[in-house]
Symmetry: C2
């Protein structure tokens, strides 16, 4: 298991099967701490994290995610929430519709990489009914759930998903030759 | 200089002053490769990256960012773009308004961490006029600029920005004691 940052990015996988083995609380806390280190607009930190261990609530989340049962089968489920109004208080609509989503996505990516570095498996789940997740977590009105991460020790070893060649997604604007 | 993933997250800073020293092309390419390793909805990879070395275009970007001159003062400026229509083709409005922003933010965070690991300094610039950036880069209609990263060797060493205590941003939902 590597903790080299670039290797960790390469080894990151979407894991949907988990061992029947609990995740230590102090490691879960380190995942949250990693998330909070993310860059964010104006250091507003427009986020809140829910760590769900309760089985019934995990199943409520799985149902909210269109019955993706693997969400409930993980011993811990982390829900990343954004606080659009907090971002809007300084940055108006750009804060609510862009920055708070970017800030929480950067936090989520930190969380994903940290989990990988700890030998954990997780998956970034974005397909869910936000109202059902809000009900499952009894969210305050200001919080918007933006990503769900079921977390456990991996019981599968999928191959990496393919990427388009860099040339297809990169444009270089260099100074014209004299 | 560490490349440990958690240490890199802790050492990441917003750097706005750069040495007069070029960034090697192969390192810039590794930043882009790191970005493309980000998780993304349905592996659609709804992104495009512009590496700007041309001085005039760098100044156009700085002006588009409300005259944040440090953007132009970096030897290389990377602009991350999203392709909302590509995400919408499979996921409709949730793809255009959420997933493609999250996917590109995760890519941006990979880029930021990779830059840190290479000893480079950069800053996530989100405040800019999207139309002016689109004009500066002659963007196709399908691309939306979502983040600008001026990249260079750091000429400052700022302290980390403070974070709220984890307890303020974390809620644990555990099984009630029997």
């Amino acid at each position: 298991m590597t903790r080299d940052v670039l290797e960790t990015m390469r080894e990151r996988r979407s894991i949907r099967r988990y061992k029947d083995q609990p995740v230590p609380d102090d490691i879960v806390r380190q995942l949250i701490e990693a998330a909070t280190l993310a860059p964010n607009a104006g250091n507003l930190q427009p986020w809140h994290f829910f760590v769900v261990k309760d089985k019934k609530v995990r199943w409520d989340l799985a149902k909210a995610a269109g019955r993706q049962n693997f969400v409930a089968e993980a011993p811990v489920v982390i829900v990343v929430c954004a606080d659009p109004a907090h971002s809007a208080s300084r940055y108006r609509s750009r804060g609510a519709e862009l920055y708070c989503l970017q800030d929480t996505a950067a936090a989520a990516q930190n969380l994903f990489l940290a989990a990988t570095a700890f030998g954990l498996g997780t998956c970034w789940v974005g397909a869910f009914d936000e109202k059902l997740v809000s009900m499952a977590l009894n969210l305050k009105e200001n919080l918007r759930p933006v990503a769900i991460f079921p977390v456990g020790y991996p019981a599968e070893n999928p191959r990496p998903s393919a990427r388009r060649p860099v040339e297809q997604v990169l444009t270089i604007i260099d100074t014209p030759a004299q």
